[in-house]
């Protein structure tokens, strides 16, 4: 397919869509589905039949609209009305009053800020498309960036655009994407590979699941552009087996793109060919580490190996390999389409663009948010997130997953960018943001993450395998009220040993939740150790000690 054909296809699809006076997008994200959005969709379809609106009104299985807390959500286009907590019984009224003022009962003005304060790039389609139709994506300009890159740009120019955009790895480490691409592009080899890391393992993070489920073509287009830029002819999407819907939709999307000649041989009538395949993960957190992920695609145990050599020189099957995260790839097409300057104008000096966060925990508006880099934690949690429910006090926010940290109230005004979060003892991570109120015990949280790292440690290197187990034991003693100050000193020492001596990011980052809670919530550790009590009332020592006394 060439650009003219793509434009024709888009025009045809838009004309088709315009024939409908109203298009209703029912969210089919996992959150809304578990709140019975499928029944809502069926009820709406039945009502369309009943009220004789066929041809005039279209009901679409749409993507995630972000506010999981208020599902099922229904959006009505072109008016832009958003209904929350919709039930199947509401279907008749929604369609009857579709030309009138919105039904107040199904709206909540307190969540307006949730929608208005975000800056959406990757999520800019806001779920207003059918993820299982490539035509829906083409109608909003999909694949035009790929064909533009192939027809008008050299691979070097593509790499330069990405470099100038300032995009940094969205998996969490923040390595400049353009620099990574340039390194792989320079490597000389007959075969090169492009890999998408969709092994979203951080507990409390679901941004990549949503992007893969709702915008599979956006990820595929980004990967194809990357392949052209670095000279790769094959690629793999490594996706968690725990995300069956993402696996299904990506598979469908690959076949659709192949059918239109947007993947496969001689894409866009050029010599560029790119073959894309899916590999399923099998539930090993360590496979998010790039060398472990490569070992897993090769069919082995997902254990990391020392770097260098980096995958950029010797990766999958020993060939130069580019690995980026789902969200990184999902940004690419728009950078090529709208230009590096446009992208670089969003965000801060060193952290450009936007970041998607999975906002969860004890916050009112749980869901998926996309914000410009540099926004403060307070704005995300209190303005977009609507604050803490049940009149409780904010205690901490955790970012960066098991290798991240907990930040207290005094850091709420610090900006969200790679450097600031690192300085605060946490890091960007892939985008989990878990809010905790006064009912959470920070020692218990540290123990929770250590249990995670201990179980997920692959066992290859001693500091991580043995160290995380020792730290978990000590944290267990503290939460049981059986620890001494010597134990605490040992814990602090282990933080250093495990953090500096471990082979890969899993072990190196494992002490971070302990270090950050020790730093900001030292009093809570002392209360457990010296006073034998848990201030938040989570740990079961208070009662036991009480009985003894």
């Amino acid at each position: 397919m060439i650009t003219e054909e793509l434009e024709q296809l888009a025009a045809d699809e838009i004309a088709q869509q315009k024939k409908c006076k109203h298009r209703l997008f029912v969210c089919m994200g996992t959150g809304c589905v578990s709140a019975h959005s499928e029944q809502v969709k069926q009820a709406l379809e039945a009502e369309v039949e009943k009220q004789g609106l066929k041809g005039d009104t279209q009901i679409v299985s749409g993507g995630c609209q972000g506010l999981c807390a208020a599902g099922p959500m229904v959006a009505i286009e072109p008016k832009g009305t958003i209904y929350q907590n919709v039930k199947a019984e509401d279907a008749a009224e929604i369609l009857e009053k579709i030309d009138q003022a919105p039904i107040e009962r199904l709206q909540d003005p307190t969540t307006d800020a949730f929608f208005e304060r975000q800056t959406k790039v990757v999520l800019n389609l806001e779920g207003r498309l059918d993820p299982e139709r490539i035509e829906d994506y083409i109608a909003v300009g999909g694949y035009s960036a790929l064909l533009k890159a192939l027809a008008e740009m050299t691979p070097t120019e593509v790499v330069d655009q990405i470099t100038h955009s300032g995009l940094r790895g969205r998996g969490g480490a923040g390595y400049p994407t353009g620099l990574k691409w340039a390194t792989v592009a320079k490597a000389r080899s007959e075969h090169k590979y492009v890999i998408c890391n969709g092994d979203e393992g951080d507990p409390g993070a679901f941004m990549d699941r949503s992007v893969m489920e709702d915008y599979p073509h956006r990820v595929i287009e980004g990967m194809a552009i990357a392949a052209y830029a670095i000279g790769a002819d094959a690629g793999y999407l490594y996706v968690r087996a725990e995300y069956p819907l993402a696996v299904k939709r990506l598979g469908l999307a690959i076949r659709q793109a192949q059918k239109y000649g947007l993947l496969g041989e001689n894409i866009g009538g050029t010599p560029f060919s790119f073959r894309l395949d899916i590999r399923m993960g099998a539930g090993a957190f360590v496979c998010g580490e790039e060398t472990a992920l490569i070992a897993s695609i090769e069919g082995g145990r997902g254990t990391p190996r020392p770097r260098p050599p980096y995958p950029a020189t010797a990766g999958l099957f020993g060939q130069p390999t580019l690995i980026n995260n789902v969200e990184s790839y999902a940004n690419i097409a728009q950078i090529i389409d709208r230009g590096a300057e446009w992208y670089a104008a969003i965000g801060t000096e060193k952290s450009k663009g936007t970041k998607i966060f999975a906002l969860t925990g004890t916050v009112k508006n749980t869901g998926l948010v996309e914000v410009p880099m540099g926004i403060s934690l307070r704005e995300i949690i209190f303005d977009i997130g609507g604050g803490i429910p049940n009149n409780r006090a904010f205690k901490a926010v955790q970012t960066g997953g098991p290798s991240g940290g907990c930040m207290p109230a005094e850091l709420l005004d610090s900006p969200v960018d790679y450097e600031s979060l690192k300085k605060a003892g946490s890091h960007m991570g892939s985008g989990g943001m878990i809010v905790m109120d006064e009912t959470s015990c920070m020692v218990d949280v540290a123990r929770y993450f250590m249990e995670f790292c201990m179980t997920e440690s692959c066992g290859k290197c001693v500091p991580c395998r043995v160290g995380t187990a020792q730290m978990y034991d000590i944290l267990g003693k503290i939460t049981a009220g059986r620890a001494s100050l010597d134990d605490l000193a040992m814990l602090e020492q282990l933080c250093e040993t495990v953090g500096t001596m471990s082979l890969c990011g899993l072990g190196q980052g494992a002490p971070n939740p302990v270090k950050s809670t020790l730093h900001y919530f030292h009093d809570e550790y002392m209360a457990h150790i010296v006073d034998k009590r848990c201030p938040a009332g989570v740990c079961k020592i208070a009662a036991a000690e009480g009985i003894k006394a």
């Binding site: 979203e200 409390g204 679901f206 725990e242 099998a282 969860t360 749980t366 905790m436």
Partner: protein
Amino acid sequence: MLPSLPIPHPEDKRWRLVVGTMRRHGFAAEALIETLHTVQSAFGFLDLEALRFVAANLHVPLSRVYGVATFYNYFTMKPQGEHVCVVCMGTACYIKGSGQILDHIAEKHHLAPGETTPDKKASLVVARCLGTCGLAPVVTFDGEVAGKIGPAQAADKIEEWLTRDN
């Protein structure tokens, strides 16, 4: 291309799916994980017979196949019960009390994570994160996601499975 080790039970069509996956990858060693996924989705778990079959046909040592099968959490070598309850232990769910759900199930049904009831009716599993954190705490009952679940609700659902007549 034919499998080099014959199918153990030719009358059981599920083995053909397994061979199909291996064939699609040209019986290459790197198809090991993909093949184990097919075995597990067809049979529900991985047993030694399947591991031997896969090892012989992909020309991978049995020790390596066993190593891979036991390394990844998603693979299980134990058959599951008729019904499966998965309690999410992701951070958001943990903060919102998924630990209490497990405690309550343990108390009421004497069922710990990874265990199946003696009548093979229900299995309890914990998940690292199901990615539905907006609805924490999340539990799935036979694959159906249920959000904002309390300890009693989860235990009651299991009770329903256990008491239902066959």
